[in-house]
């Protein structure tokens, strides 16, 4: 579909808590984000219809812009009229809705089922049961497991290319039998992504029974995984399912140029695009109320993971199934029992939109947020390398040039420096990194828009429409507390120079207004480095948090006792927000359990010897000259590492190629 002459674009994203809308229009010939608005989603009590929130958010957008966008009947006015009412193009995206209830079948748990699970992690899928040939259940138990679960989809994997066919056919026949037992109208669709040799038999088995999707084998060889085709088919299956989801989406879908697109698809699209236009990787994380998404572009391959069991609102009641309590307690500066932490999560799921009111609640909320992001990171990493079935989680994190955070808990703090700190805490990047936030749901909208007007996406992204929190410089090694860890010299556009001594163990925002350019020189003290270098000179652009200097060290030296955390975390919050938290003594009373360390990649574990650590950190990520404009960046110098090839920076690209890339991507 191409509507190349559309000038005004309205996009609405339906989250589980918030409905957000943005208006994009041509300003001086360039697509520009003109306005945004946000209202509550009205899928729950008392309305049970997203249309109510839809009308409200568009009414608000109309008020904010002075431009009528919606008719008295609640429909988007389209196309744009001569009096500037209405818009040329309307798009809708959504994360709301229950996930696709799926039964996953495969030959072996650790091979085809494992690959099937990884493929499913890219869509809103809830795996209700896994069924394999090797398990002990009887056929009767397996059939009842399928039929009583009332799935929306049966996802069949199994068999390598050229391998045995009979066992996979046996699985498929079991699925067929289950389908035959289920009443008409509730028969699930089937997705087959196993040995391709039996595709004709698969068609024979299912064609007359239900809808069928065929994808490439997720495990063509025991050593190789191929997830992309299955992920696309899962997305198609989800789209087909959402058309029937009710809640007023049928009306919205009818008005939208491309129906209602799952927001996670947009993350995949936009991160993929951004990954092609920068030298380093891109990481985007959205911690939503019911669903969380992580998209990473590493070496120009993009992978997206979706978790319906991680969320800080509706899904908070199940978050502890995915995120260990010990990982949450690592970020709490007070004693909290398991029951208290569980009660917080349960109460949050009862009131998903709640904002922490007290000091104690803000620590619970942010501990959950950080632990969720770290769990998502840990679980997503295996999908970042498409051709390797078994990733080594102990290898260092790939270099990310930019990290983008989304979700109300992360972007709604009202304190850009706090949002930046939360991202740094969760991902603990070293070196120079650009931190951004997406408080208005721009990425979901742009991902949907990319199918129709790719150049609009490029122009809006170039127009700095995402919130730039700022450039963060994070020191490697463990700086000594109470001593200067680095000295930062800032030269602004007028040539005025300010110098800042940054103390070890602190995180500091150096003021630099949003969009204002400056040059900074960072000189690290002994024992610490900026990716192995003692000095750094770069051009930066100010963000809403100015310039961020994280002199707390890498790996982040979190205290391991509650009393230690009670001294450490409030200090960091004070540095980030200017507000001092008092932790009463009684919060620390009782036995102080040592927080067990959660399994982390080795890159983030303390290493022996500071010098050694600094040396190792030096080769993990490149140092870039950063201006925010990829074309202006100097190529990074890379050195080889023992037994590990250094990453070569991708070649620079021109902007014209950006649009072509994007077009190709959507073709």
């Amino acid at each position: 579909m191409s509507i190349s002459r559309s000038t005004s674009i309205l996009a609405v994203d339906f989250g589980n808590v918030n409905t957000r809308s943005i208006l994009i229009d041509l300003v001086d010939g360039v697509y520009t984000l003109v306005a945004q608005a946000q209202e509550k989603t009205t899928a729950g009590f008392p309305h049970g219809d997203v249309g109510v929130g839809f009308v409200r958010v568009l009414t608000q957008l109309s008020v904010n812009t002075g431009r009528r966008l919606i008719s008295n009947e609640g429909r988007v006015i389209s196309p744009e009229q001569s009096d500037r009412t209405g818009v040329d193009l309307f798009l809708a995206t959504a994360t709301i809705g229950r996930p696709l209830r799926t039964i996953l079948m495969g030959l072996f748990g650790e091979i085809s089922i494992a690959s099937g699970k990884r493929a499913a992690s890219g869509t809103y899928v809830d795996i209700l049961e896994t069924i394999s040939l090797g398990e002990n259940r009887t056929l009767e138990d397996q059939l009842n497991a399928i039929t009583l679960a009332r799935p929306d989809l049966i996802f069949i994997t199994g068999g390598t290319e050229g391998g045995a066919e009979e066992p996979v056919l046996e699985l498929a026949q079991m699925a067929r039998m289950a389908l035959r037992l289920m009443p008409k109208g509730v028969k699930p669709s089937v997705l087959y992504a196993g040995n391709s040799a039996i595709i004709p038999q698969i068609h024979e088995l299912f064609d007359k029974l239900t809808g069928i999707f065929i994808a490439d084998n997720v495990r063509p060889t025991p050593e190789r995984e191929s997830l992309e085709s299955a992920q696309k088919s899962l997305a198609q299956a989800y789209n087909a399912f959402t058309e029937k989801r009710g809640l007023g989406f049928d009306v919205i879908a009818e008005m939208s140029a491309i129906g209602v697109v799952p927001s996670a698809q947009s993350y995949q699209t936009i991160v993929d695009y951004l990954g092609r236009s920068v030298r380093g990787g891109i990481l985007a994380v959205d911690i939503g109320s019911a669903v969380s998404t992580m998209s990473a572009s590493v070496k120009r391959y993009t992978a997206t993971s979706i978790r319906t069991d991680i969320g800080l609102g509706h899904s908070a009641n199940v978050i502890l199934n995915a995120v260990p309590i010990s990982a949450i307690r690592e970020w709490l500066p007070f004693q909290a029992t398991d029951d208290e932490i569980t009660a917080y999560t349960l109460n949050k799921s009862l009131r998903p939109a709640t904002i922490p009111e007290t000091v104690r609640d803000v620590y619970f909320e942010h501990a959950l947020l950080r632990a969720s992001m770290r769990t998502l990171l840990r679980d997503s990493r295996p999908t970042w390398t498409p051709d390797t079935a078994l990733d080594n989680l102990n290898t260092p994190m790939p270099y990310f040039e930019r990290i983008i955070g989304a979700g109300a808990a992360l972007t709604g703090t009202g304190q850009p420096m706090l949002t930046a700190m939360l991202l740094l805490d969760a991902f603990q990047p070293a070196g120079v990194i650009r931190l951004q936030a997406d408080p208005h749901g721009l990425i979901p909208a742009l991902g949907a828009l990319a199918y129709i007007i790719p150049e609009a996406v490029v122009q809006v992204l170039d127009g700095r429409s995402l919130e730039d929190l700022g450039m963060a410089v994070s020191l490697s090694g463990i700086p000594r507390k109470g001593r200067a860890a680095c000295r930062v010299r800032v030269t602004d556009e007028r040539g005025e120079v300010t110098t800042h001594n940054i103390m070890g163990g602190t995180i500091v925002s150096i003021p630099l207004p949003l969009g204002v350019a400056a040059n900074i020189q960072v000189s690290a003290s002994g024992g610490v480095s900026i990716n192995g270098k003692r000095r750094l000179k770069i051009d930066v652009i100010g963000g809403t948090a100015g310039i961020i200097i994280d002199a707390r060290g890498r790996a982040l030296p979190l205290e391991r006792s509650v009393r230690g955390l009670a001294g450490q975390l409030p200090a960091w919050y004070e540095q980030a927000t200017g507000v001092k938290h008092a932790i009463p003594d009684e919060w620390l009373s009782g036995a102080l359990p040592e927080t067990p360390k959660v399994e982390e990649p080795a890159a983030q574990k303390p290493r022996r010897g500071r010098r050694k650590k600094a040396e190792e950190a030096a080769v993990e990520e490149p140092i870039l000259s950063v201006t925010g404009d990829p074309a202006a960046e100097a190529p990074p110098k890379r050195r080889g590492r023992r037994g590990q090839a250094a990453e070569e920076p991708p070649p620079p690209e021109t902007k014209g190629e950006d649009i072509d890339d994007l077009r190709n991507l959507f073709s």
């Binding site: 899928a43 709301i96 009767e140 039998m177 037992l181 009660a343 009131r351 009111e357 919050y573």
Partner: protein, 354 residues
């Protein structure tokens, strides 16, 4: 965000209002037994549905020692769709083995040498749960009932619905009602306790036979017990040790002795209902109370409930974000509590009570 068009969350606490509630069938479908404009009572059955029942798979080829699967068809005594009784012969070899049904149910499928039976599904009756008028019927999906009454909406429920008379716990608390001091008034009642639910509370509920329990809060460790409780359990505040707000206590005390429906809905994403108790209150005069206004933006003077459970009225809507003691800077509302104290709380944390 402009406050003139801020729409708050709704969680009703109304002594007299028009209530419209849907009674929906599960996705297994069912049969609706009432027509539009029919008057229904609390316990009237308005629909029948069936619970999904398991299948039984019999490897008939092996059992009957057949050479090939296709031989089975000729030996069948019953056929797909037929009802069967436990002990009934399903298939028989001439002068040989008999295959006896292990269940009562129906024969669903014969093929590939297997016989699949399904146990008789349990029929579930759906009650009206309200004294009112059926205003809409959608066959296969559900009905809408309109009624007048008082309504209190809470935070959590154990997924049960029950109808009973509202009673208030004795001064010494539910825990002190002993088995040997059986109180006949409590049997079949919806009991209100102002204290946090404890394990013993649920035991007393079972011993005394009250079918509903309204409490402020409960420890998370008791969730499983509450889910298995013999009646409906509703929490007005949530999990942990929270006290019931004065407004809720007053409301429930005023409803003492009245019949009500405790619909302890288990909150879930996309669940369009809240856990609530709807109480029959006689209408006075000829004026009928209106339905709650759920489309009105928040205004000064509106009654609201805070996250802490406290109740008050909106006195100010600051136009810019407010810095909280915890360091967050968010849009807030100033509320004057019933006791006269004024507090600033995040706008997202209040519920409109009207």
């Amino acid at each position: 965000m402009t406050y003139e068009i801020y729409f708050p969350n709704h969680r009703h606490l109304l002594t007299s209002t028009l209530i419209r509630r849907e009674r929906t069938l599960p996705d297994t479908g069912g049969r609706i037994d009432v027509n539009p404009m029919t008057r229904v009572g609390l316990n009237d059955v308005i629909a029948h549905t069936t619970a999904p029942s398991p299948y039984v798979v019999i490897d008939a080829v092996r059992f009957l020692k057949l050479r090939k699967a296709s031989d089975l068809d000729a030996l069948m005594e019953v056929h797909p769709g037929d009802k069967i009784e436990e002990g009934q012969t399903i298939a028989v070899r001439p002068r040989g083995k008999r295959l006896i049904s292990p269940i009562t149910g129906s024969l669903i499928y014969v093929g590939e040498g297997r016989i699949i039976l399904q146990e008789t599904a349990e029929t579930v009756e759906v009650e009206a749960g309200l004294n009112g008028m059926v205003i809409e019927v959608e066959q296969g999906r559900g009905i809408t009932i309109e009624a007048y009454g008082a309504v209190l909406q809470g935070m959590w429920g154990n997924n049960r619905r029950t109808v009973g008379t509202v009673r208030i716990e004795p001064d010494e608390g539910v825990e002190n009602i002993f088995r040997d001091a059986m109180d006949i008034e409590l049997r079949g009642a919806i009991l209100v306790t102002k204290r946090q639910i404890k394990k013993v509370t649920l035991q007393v509920m079972e011993d005394q036979g009250f079918i509903g329990l309204i409490a402020p809060s409960m420890d998370v460790s008791l969730i499983d017990d509450a889910m298995k409780a013999p009646g409906a359990v509703l929490l007005t505040e949530g999990f942990g040790n929270m006290r019931m707000s004065a407004s809720h206590i007053t409301f429930l005390e005023d409803m003492r002795g009245r019949q009500g429906t405790l619909d302890a809905v288990l909150p879930a994403p996309l669940e369009p209902r809240l856990p609530e108790v709807v109480i029959n209150v006689p209408l006075t005069g000829t004026n009928r109370p209106p339905a709650p206004n759920t489309t009105q933006p928040l205004r000064r003077g509106d009654p609201v409930r805070l996250g802490s459970g406290a109740v008050g009225r909106v006195v100010d809507l600051p136009k810019t974000p407010v810095l909280l003691d915890n360091g967050l800077r968010v849009m807030c509302v100033q509320v004057e509590l019933v006791a006269g104290e004024k507090v600033i709380v995040p706008l997202a944390n209040i519920d409109y009570l009207g």
